[in-house]
């Protein structure tokens, strides 16, 4: 059975992909992120827009298409995300 993922968990998955699992040094394309994060195009577009506006992702124009890489703020966010995921786990909750 598929595991339910919270919005926060999906954001975590996207950031982890853009940090550890890039297609090339330019970053990851939307199609690649859709496949890795396993969500719809419309949903990931909204999330990417938010993450770029919050400074957690860097948007790079590569050969006419957009690619995404994690920023320094994104790395710090991921660190906090892992810490507080453990914290919430202690209460039997998901963040």
């Amino acid at each position: 059975m598929a595991e339910y993922r919270t919005h926060m968990k999906i954001i975590g998955d996207i950031l982890v992909t853009t940090r550890d699992d890039l297609q090339d040094e330019n970053g990851a394309s939307v199609t690649y992120l859709i496949r890795k994060a396993n969500i719809s195009h419309s949903r990931i577009s909204r999330i990417l827009k938010t993450l770029v506006s919050q400074g957690l992702l860097e948007q790079i124009d590569s050969k006419g298409s957009n690619k995404y890489k994690i920023s320094q703020s994104g790395r710090e966010f991921l660190q906090a995300y892992y810490t507080f995921t453990n914290f919430a786990d202690s209460f039997g909750l998901s963040i």
Binding site: M8, E76, F77, Q79, A80, Y81, T83, F84, N86, F87, A88, D89, S90, F91, G92, L93, S94, I95
Partner: protein, 213 residues
């Protein structure tokens, strides 16, 4: 003896609630997670509830000196704690806590105006017990999924608080018995168990929001 134990319990409750509340708040500020926001409200409420009762005992001890804490202060503190316990249970997705019918909602609060503060204290204690038992069971179920030591510690902590609350409520039937002291000691043990996993969160690695510094 009762005053001393009550003072220790309420001081520990205030400090543990405050520590977990601050931790949850830092987590909320850094991640924006609604779960952490609910935990922030829960533990700040619990902390405030214990603080109100502690202030009541201290005022009684050093200012009023009548030998008994004002009942309404104790009831107020327990009511605030109950709000905190509700938010812990609510985080575990209580979906039908409040009646759906508008009529029942409107009359639900009415009996609270018809009963004395002593009866109110009984009601809040019994609601707290139910919420804590629910939270303990849900946390225990999560432990069976993730098998983390921190989760079992929180589950045991909530279960001990529930047991302490139940014994505290039951001790009204036997006013001069040892039950009340046992309930206080069990609650102190529960609060310590709650704090154990939180004390291990590596906050030094977190870069706080500028607003918090």
């Amino acid at each position: 003896m009762e005053f001393l134990l009550e003072n220790i319990l309420n001081l520990i409750g205030f400090l543990v609630g405050l520590a977990i509340g601050i931790m949850s708040f830092i987590g909320f500020r850094n991640t924006g997670s609604p779960t952490l926001f609910r935990l922030t409200i829960a533990f700040f409420s619990i902390s405030l509830g214990f603080f109100v009762i502690w202030v009541g005992y201290m005022t009684e001890d050093f200012v009023i000196k009548s030998g008994n804490i004002e009942k309404w202060i104790q009831t107020l503190g327990i009511a605030i704690q109950t709000i905190g316990y509700f938010f812990i249970a609510f985080s575990h997705s209580i979906k039908s806590f409040f009646p759906k019918s508008t009529y029942f909602r409107s009359i639900g609060i009415f009996p609270l105006f018809l009963i004395s503060s002593v009866q109110l204290e009984h009601i809040f204690r019994s609601i707290s017990f139910i919420l804590l038992a629910y939270g303990a069971i849900e946390t225990m179920l999560s432990y069976f999924d993730n098998r983390k030591k921190g989760t079992i510690s929180v589950a045991v902590g909530l279960a001990l608080l529930a047991l302490g609350e139940f014994l505290g409520w039951y001790s009204f039937l036997f006013p001069e018995s040892i039950l009340y002291y046992v309930s206080i000691i069990i609650k102190i043990a529960g609060l310590i168990a709650l704090f154990i996993p939180v004390s291990k969160v590596p906050l030094t690695k977190i870069k706080f929001d500028e607003g918090l510094e």
